[in-house]
Amino acid sequence: DAGITQSPRHKVTETGTPVTLRCHQTENHRYMYWYRQDPGHGLRLIHYSYGVKDTDKGEVSDGYSVSRSKTEDFLLTLESATSSQTSVYFCALRTESYGYTFGSGTRLTVV
């Protein structure tokens, strides 16, 4: 769907370690998003980007940073992972028809 891939698909990491998740698109869309999905909370926006080097915070941005040095890549970094960041992370992009397309997700476990 719309050429969006996330990596890795699964990751287990230890508390306190840095973790970077990657979202890659092949279609040059301007807007990209990182969400986390947790039971009972639906999807909550972490950060989003509206262009190269242009990013903004979402509702649950604490403990996360992002970077977008190229249009096609949007990176999400957990500087020092905590158990509360165990979640499924979805990347999304907004298409020209104002639809939103989601990646396959990254399941992150912090032990």
């Binding site: 639906g42 999807l43 926006l45 989003y48 979805f90 907004r94 104002y98 989601f102 396959s104």
Partner: protein, 113 residues
């Protein structure tokens, strides 16, 4: 801040029963409205969306939704569910002119054969 409410957290139906899932949002201006479905272990897929025009929107797999502006609602319906409709359903709203998509907490639908 804008919010989206899905009051039905879990719904259990038998095959061929009719479905209606509620969705209410808080923003009073122009909105774009979406319903997504997530099958077990998969990512979100778009069922349907409303931007303007006819408030009754038809989507894939026989789903439809009705936008009622006066009630701030965008309820999802299907006349006859199938076992394959077992999934989690998310309502989402995007304020007109803004780029953030806000989700409800989701409704888990279980359809028994």
């Amino acid at each position: 801040a804008q919010s989206v409410s899905q009051h039905n957290h879990h719904v259990i139906l038998s095959e061929a029963a009719s479905l209606e899932l509620g969705c209410n949002y808080s923003y009073g201006g122009t909105v774009n409205l979406f319903w997504y479905v997530q099958y077990p272990g998969q990512h979100l897929q778009l069922l349907l969306k409303y931007f303007s025009g006819d408030p009754l929107v038809k989507g894939i797999k026989g789903f439809e939704a009705e936008f009622i502006k006066s009630k701030f609602s965008f309820n999802l319906r299907k006349p006859s569910v199938q076992w394959s409709d077992t999934a989690e359903y998310f309502c989402a709203v995007n304020e007109g002119g803004f780029q953030k998509l806000v989700f409800g907490t989701g409704t888990r639908l279980l359809v028994s054969p």
